[in-house]
Amino acid sequence: MGVQSNIDTSGKELTIKVDGRFDFSAHQEFRDAYEGISADISNYVVDLGNTSYLDSSALGMLLLLRDHAGGDNANITISKCNDDVKKILTISNFEQLFTIQ
């Protein structure tokens, strides 16, 4: 349950997977998923395939990840969003900051 993360074989891509509701309760776990991880990571993928709902604090967490990953130079893909999740990301115009799939 909750947040899982893994680094691909190249050691450059970190995938963070969030299950269920992505809200403030996932805050610590989500941060732990990328903080203190190898500095070689250049790509981030946030897999929301099993995320049912996203609230504004989750949007905040995504911005924190973006900041951690280099701000304007961050390379972050948000993948596998369902329609509800996609809608929330679109309303907030997050496609201007992240690659959304």
Partner: protein
Amino acid sequence: MKILIADDNVSDRLLLNKIISKQGHDVIEAENGKHAIDRYVKDCPDIILMDVLMPELNGKEAAKEIKRLAGEDLVPIIFLTSLIDAQSLADCLEAGGDDFLTKPYNHIILKAKIDAFVRMRKMHATLQKQRDTIVENNQHMLHEQHVAKAVFDNVAHSGCLDASNIKYMLSPLAVFNGDVLLAARKPSGGMHVFLGDFTGHGLPAAIGAMPMAEIFYGMTAKGFALRDILREINLKLKSILPIGFFCCAAVVDLSFTKRSISMWMGGVPDCYLISEEGKKLKSLRSHHLPLGVLSSEQFDDEMTEHSMEDGDRLFMWSDGIVEARDEKGEMFGEDRLQAIFKDNFAPDELFAAVQERVSVFVGESERDDDTTLIELMMVEESELDLSSLNMQQGTVKGPSDWKMDYELGVDSLKHFNPLPLLMHIMMEVPALRSMGGQLFTVVAELFSNAFEHGVLRLNSQLKSTPSGFAEYYQLRQQRLDELTEGYVKVSMLHSSESGSSGVFNLIIEDSGLGFDYQAKFTQDPDHVQIENKFSGRGIPLIYSLCHSLEYLGCGNKVRAEIHWPQKIDK
């Protein structure tokens, strides 16, 4: 521990007294149920050992009464009985007893049970104490919050939300609201309305709202354009909010004379434009990131225009409406919201209908977000009460007839950007503030033309190819480094006709060679054709912003004239 033994049998009582006293407890005695209650009230024993069958009042009845008297305090009652069938023992517990002990007494079990209840009592007392502390702290905090809220409300809600063309609802989840509603009359007529939804609720959200409200009301009263206000708010929030916190917003510049609204939306649900008859005309969608996310350079203040007839209404809401949940956790959703506007409500009743539907839907379930709703109607400006406007205009009185000449030499040109200073001087004129963006464009373009093409003698045609573009800026830097003589003179002149209209003149002259403007302008400088003949990108744009623009002398001097109030068709 003080232990009460209630038993009508004297020898049993004596025996028990002896055992318990030996274990180090104080013992008091009662010989029937009634007596037991009296002793409980008088001596407050910690634990009670009670015979089930007694004269006057039996053990079970006495236990009920003692438990009632004890209220929230834990007074363990252990029943003493010679009955051993399961039902009798179960009855003891049902009557309010906490445990039972069968006769004849086993010393070891008796001691273990008393010790267990002593532990339980201590735990209970600790819990009660902690609970009381929490309640007390909470009350203290709520009190502080109410005081702070009074301050907050004075800052955040000092505008014209009570105007007759506005209906609104703000229902905070906590004492403080994460949603913000601001409305202010513009000195030039019209209204600015702001609906904001901060990440989170309560105090952290309210703290961000304070400076935002100050900027909104302050700059609106001074006549700044909404775009400039948004930029300022974005910059402020970006600098004060921690990363990950931001403010979703729907912001409206309403013009009564133009019968139109100009909107900026970032991260809020679609707003609805409703016709005079109560039919939905269109949904307005958010096209921006929320406030406080992007830096000033990246911030986009693009607004969209929508016309509104008299009686047309604009509905705006925070996501708390669409995401309101019922008992099953289902969201109210956009479909239900849309349906309200298809149900043939009278236009005047729509606002109440939305409130009602959401409230019925949510029912008894616990709300988990602030919910905010506002309806803004287009009316004749004369229908509005003017008092709110007059109050704000009190501070607005700037210079009206003035002239300034400003000349920059080589060293200043190399190291100093005069634009903020020039803007500042122009913005002292209240009527020019709402044209801030446009004035900035005019001054910035003309100044950079004078500097780059005039003083530095760079050819703008270079910029027509990508490689030329790079070369242009390389050359610019080189010439700037080598520059030893030259100047740019800026003259600004403002005059006003009894405060209701005015003319602003900007003349910029440079030390360059000028250019053959007559060849470029053909005969008619106002004609659209010039757009194609100019290589500079800025000039056609400036034409569209000025009342007139003319080149003088050998082309090293330009004069732009801007009139206010602006003609609406421009």
